[in-house]
Symmetry: C2
């Protein structure tokens, strides 16, 4: 049985298909011009921090050196697409030089008369440069500087399978798939004007955009989609009836030298599959690319969730929508689009009724299949047709008050500032651990592909030039062997191994029963000691006696410890200051000192006010979303104040430092202070060697040092009290005080020594 296209509507509505209908692959490319804080085209090179453009999967340049292109990976949902777009923007915003911004507009900034500020992208491959030179010559440099959004769409394999099965066609799967995408493409061409109207947002051109003086007057809905926009000089006829014709027509255009390659065919929708037309024909259509979307200047990302949702739903609807509407030919679609593009933004479109009719049918269909689409998506589109003042184009016009440069710089500045506010986060992925966010930032920046395999477990996949690595919690990698973390998880084993290798650890004993442990009291009665469960973390069940203990206290501490673990360690107390050494591959990369929550008086503010002031730092927050936590003024803090004869209402004298906590954990408002440069190298060497003795590649060692001025070889000079196999890294990158150590970059270099 041959497959009949017109049956597609029925197939899509089949109950076997409906559960899979919203499974798609979505991708997005977004171009933006780098501009100065004065709104002029940036004259600098593409940022070198972004590694090599040759390999960068996310951050490229398009026509000009200043034209940044952000490319999302293929995603499965609009929300996933948007988080990637957010993340890529975070990376580019924080990578740009201080005085550079990303223009929020499709239309390029003002140029000087001779356009000399437009530099063709400095790409490595000569043919890439050559092609751009050709474009500059053919279309003029200015037109090539226009930016936009390209939206890539495909149906998920499972959905395609279901559609194919239900169709019962005898055609091949490839043919079926080609026909499906061709239908969508044809319908898209028929209704392209809808997008021109709804997403048009380029009402004004800047100085010297076109040398054809008087080419167009005043404002338009979308210069970019108009005849003055990003378009071929003459009308190119390419068939969308079937793939062979499509390929054939394009090849013919090339032969006729009307275009020099298929990339030069500036259609609102392109069929994609492979690197060349030959490959496209061979592979069949793998996805389609929508190209007529202007940058939305009101969104920091150039496009909103609602816009993408609209496009996604539209793709499915266009697959469903019968093609028997005689009035709406592709030819007609193009014509209407051009007319709409040229309309005044504030005026009612002459195609208002046509638009509202289409949207009514679209809405009715969405309700019929009970699709899970935000009602606003369609309502807003309807509003745009009903109230032209609400369209992006009209709103932008209203916003700029005839000074597009000034306002666009203002918008661009706000976008960048937002990204700089919390540099330790990666927008889109703020639900993940900070260290993972920072690692992902670094990876994206350097052009290492990132795939989140399990978000809640911080499990990601990295890939660079085909070399795959997996990372969990930002530093659990293939470079450590399995026995090492198992060793460190076990305080007892860690101590035995370190001790055997000749490193100083607190002396002590292990007990497997509380009655046995109680017997050891005479050993510890007179000296400082610590009782701790063998394997818990976060200080639970640990008691410190700095100078001996009475027997009941001793027994109580044992009970607390045995509640946490069936094995308890009793260790000598080692006096001194505790430091966290972060060791990577046999080298100390950073040493942090953690201070208990504290404030320093200024002779003016009360303690409560000082705490509030300190908490204002963007580094502080709650629930580990920031490198430091808020200082609290709860019972524990107030009781410690009381012990010092203070209340929160007291004004603290200038420079007096008071502590609000005994414990130095960052999680209870403590400060992290980088002291790497203050710890003598001989200590760093010994601690790095201790990490080696454990066989660790990545290790956070908690070390008590009596006095760093003492020789490391002095008896009791230091004592290693804990080794952590997944040490936090964000507090080293964003310490309260001291130098920042970007350990995530060290992790990437360890995983990818080949990184350029």
């Amino acid at each position: 049985m041959k497959w009949i296209m017109s049956e597609l509507a029925e197939i899509i509505m089949d109950s076997r298909v409906l559960p899979y209908l919203w499974q798609h692959n979505l991708g997005l490319e977004k171009e933006s011009q780098r501009v100065t804080t004065h709104g002029q085209l940036a004259q600098t090179n593409h940022p070198s921090l972004l590694g090599k453009r040759r390999y960068h999967p996310y951050l490229q340049t398009d026509f000009s050196e200043s034209q940044v292109e952000l490319i999302t990976p293929v995603t499965k949902s609009v929300s996933e697409l948007m988080r990637w777009l957010a993340a890529l923007h975070d990376v580019i915003y924080r990578t740009l030089p201080e005085n550079e911004l990303l223009s929020p507009l499709s239309m390029p900034p003002s140029f000087s008369d001779d356009l000399t500020e437009i530099k063709i992208a400095r790409l490595e491959k000569y043919c890439d440069v050559l092609y751009r030179r050709y474009l500059a010559k053919t279309y003029g440099k200015a037109q090539q500087m226009i930016c936009g959004i390209h939206f890539n769409f495909s149906f998920d394999d499972e959905l395609l399978d279901k559609l194919y099965t239900v169709s019962q066609t005898t055609d091949s799967f490839k043919t079926f798939k080609n026909d499906l995408y061709l239908k969508v493409a044809r319908n898209y061409l028929r209704y392209q004007w809808l997008i021109t109207y709804l997403m048009g947002a380029s009402p004004v051109a800047n100085a010297n955009y076109t040398s054809r003086a008087g080419d167009f007057q005043g404002t338009m809905r979308s210069i970019r989609n108009s005849i003055y926009g990003y378009t071929n000089h003459e009308k190119l006829n390419v068939s969308y009836d079937n793939l062979a014709d499509y390929v054939h027509d394009l090849e013919k255009l090339i032969q006729q030298q009307k275009i020099i390659c298929e990339k030069e065919y500036y259609a609102p929708v392109r069929l994609k599959g492979g690197a060349s037309l030959t490959e496209l024909l061979e592979n069949g259509i793998e996805y389609i690319e929508l190209r007529n979307i202007d940058l939305n200047p009101f969104s920091a990302y150039g496009v909103t969730n609602e816009q993408i949702s609209f496009l996604q739903a539209l793709m499915v609807y266009l697959a469903y929508l019968p093609e028997n509407d005689e009035l709406n030919t592709m030819e007609q679609g193009n014509k209407i689009s051009k007319i709409i593009a040229a309309e005044k933004p504030n005026e009612v479109s002459q195609y208002q009724m046509l638009g509202l009719q289409f949207l009514a049918g679209f809405e009715e269909w969405i309700q019929r299949i009970n699709a899970d689409i935000d009602d606003q998506v369609i309502q807003q589109a309807k509003l745009y047709f009903e109230e032209p003042k609400e369209t992006l184009s009209a709103r932008w016009l209203q916003q700029i008050h005839f000074d597009q440069t000034k306002i666009s710089v203002q918008f661009a500045l706000e976008n960048k500032q937002e990204a700089l506010l919390k540099p330790y986060q990666l927008a889109g992925f703020t639900t993940m651990e900070l260290s993972t966010q920072i690692l992902m930032f670094d990876a994206i920046q350097k052009g290492i592909q990132v795939k989140v395999l399990d978000e809640s477990e911080q499990f990601i996949q990295l890939q660079y030039k085909g070399h795959i690595e997996y990372v969990k919690n930002a530093n659990m990698t293939s470079k450590d062997n399995y026995i090492v973390p198992l060793m460190m998880e076990n305080k007892l084993v860690t101590k035995k191994v370190l001790q055997t290798a000749g490193y100083q650890v607190p002396k002590g004993i292990e007990c497997n029963a509380i009655e046995e442990a109680k017997k050891y009291y005479p050993k510890f009665a007179q000296s400082g000691f610590v009782i701790k469960p063998k394997s818990t973390n976060f200080g639970l069940g640990i008691t410190i006696f700095k100078s001996g203990a009475k027997e009941p206290e001793y027994q109580l501490a044992l009970e607390r410890a045995f509640q946490q673990d069936k094995t308890v360690l009793i260790e000598e107390y080692v006096p001194g200051t505790e430091y966290r050494f972060f060791v990577l591959d046999g080298e100390v990369k950073s040493v942090i000192l953690r201070e208990p929550a504290n404030v320093i008086g200024d002779g003016k503010h009360t303690i409560a006010q000082l705490v509030a002031l300190k908490n204002e730092s963007p580094l502080r927050g709650s629930h580990y979303q920031t490198p430091l936590e808020f200082i609290k003024l709860g019972e524990i803090e107030q009781s410690l104040l009381a012990q010092q004869g203070l209340t929160v209402a007291d004004i603290l004298p200038k420079n007096q430092k008071i502590f609000l906590r005994v414990n130095s954990n960052v999680s209870t408002g403590g400060d992290s202070i980088d002291v790497t440069d203050q710890i003598p190298f001989e200590y760093q060497k010994v601690i790095a060697a201790a990490s080696d003795a454990l066989g660790a590649k990545v290790c956070g060692l908690d070390v008590i040092i009596t006095d760093p001025k003492q020789k490391v070889t002095a008896p009791g000079a230091y004592s290693i009290i804990e080794a952590n196999f997944n040490p936090a890294m964000h507090m080293h990158a964003y310490p309260y005080k001291g130098a920042s150590h970007r350990l995530t970059m060290d992790i990437l270099k360890m995983l990818y020594p080949e990184l350029e």
Copy 2:
């Protein structure tokens, strides 16, 4: 202030010392003759299964090829020493050829007149052989065949530190330590007769033990400690006053050619420290070796816990005991020992009073310091002196009824049979997991040093020729990289990685919220599917719907799954048989099929009886102490019987197989059946490659195979449903049916490719 020896008693009783007083290092060497089941000296070579004697830390040969020497590692307590002794015996008993035993006696078996059956140990080093030839010539081969126990003892460093500190001496620590051990050695020589009496157990010599016919008549307490025993020909004078004199005297004896090396000095106690006398003098005394202990024929290990406890306590007591007893000189001690050795076992010793006096003082001191020593240890010694019939020597004499060979074979056989009863266990370490016990067995057998770092966590250290490896749970090693188990711990990530690499896994989706998951119902309503939590094990929260489900069932299953994890997978159900593939280093080593608990009828027994019979197998037990678990007849089993129209009282027809469980877990009485040879190699190759794709060195893959006769490339031929990073190994080594695969040995070979 010079250190005064006589103050030692006071120092030992100091409250700062007492908490440390029982911290010692204990080691033991035990020789045994390999004999045939007829009681003759074994003529075979030392078992080749034991690897190379050159390196073996535990199992050596002494004088003759048949004379096995078991050497425990240094231990911290009597119980630890005994568990090692038990383990070493398990290994040697199970390594001996079927018709060989270990003689339980110090005295060698009967020899032919010409002693030709005594073969000097075939050692690699020529000087070792030469020395034995010299001994044979000097003392006669027979005397060198005597076996015994050597007990090595030292005070723990912490205890020594305390003693030294409390002594306030200005002498060096080394001098102090030497003096301490010399005092113990001198006192031991004074009271050596006590051990001769209490531990003497060689009352009877066998044929041709001595060629000096009529040398001694009848029986003795200890031939071994008598002038006919293991002794130098003439009295050798060696001073124990100080270490320099001790070394000097021994060197003089060598110069005088009275002995050819210090090893030939057969004293009841030796001072040890380094490989030579020069080293001893340089290092100081590191431990002392007691040498006059006969094998206890009543213990499978040649010595009991109580005997070692007695010796340990004695060492401390002798350090305490003042040396001002004029009557008890070392000279005198030796004389008394020789007299006691020659006494008739059943007769009251002429030194009974002296013995009881000593023991009374010993006991009084133990009580005074409230030492934690089993009361029986001293009471039994007292009993031995009061009732000579109770001594080892007298009891052995009574036991043998003038046929020592027959009885000793009988004892030896029982010892060996006990060790063979549960071959999957390693005596002394039965509290550990079976796989770890089996791995330790293999390591010990091959001469790889084993150190238990954390018993309850199955964390051990292995060492072979200086190459250290750590192992947790028998197969978690340095050979796997850290990310691999993290990957396998996460079903979702495992699936994604396998799928990307092109292996078949069940299709499915992940849900992070139950409301989201409920929406997917239409997808699964009609087909077989499985709902399971992302990361729990042991089947908790898993529901299988073999052919679709009603919506309430679907929702209930989701609720069950979400109770176990915040992420739930819904996967297609794959029909077929589930196999466990054990893959090591890219090779399938074993494939196991697990069958639910079942019995097969014989037309005679009831189901309850059949279960009881099947449960009699030594492979079955409870709480994972055996490779298989008992089949239970609880509610679940009886309900399944009822469904089949049966009760436990029904007699099952011959060859009818019934199942008592639906699930195939070994933990609920299931059978493990090795089917490695039945799974086509092409399947094994694919599964091994899948393990490689995960990057795993050790991996247990649960795979559903529709039909092994099908080509592996057929769609749906197999599906990998789980990957385990710490797969059980004991069920492969001791399956219910099929070939045994000793995977623990494969693990050792992976860790030690250099293993000889």
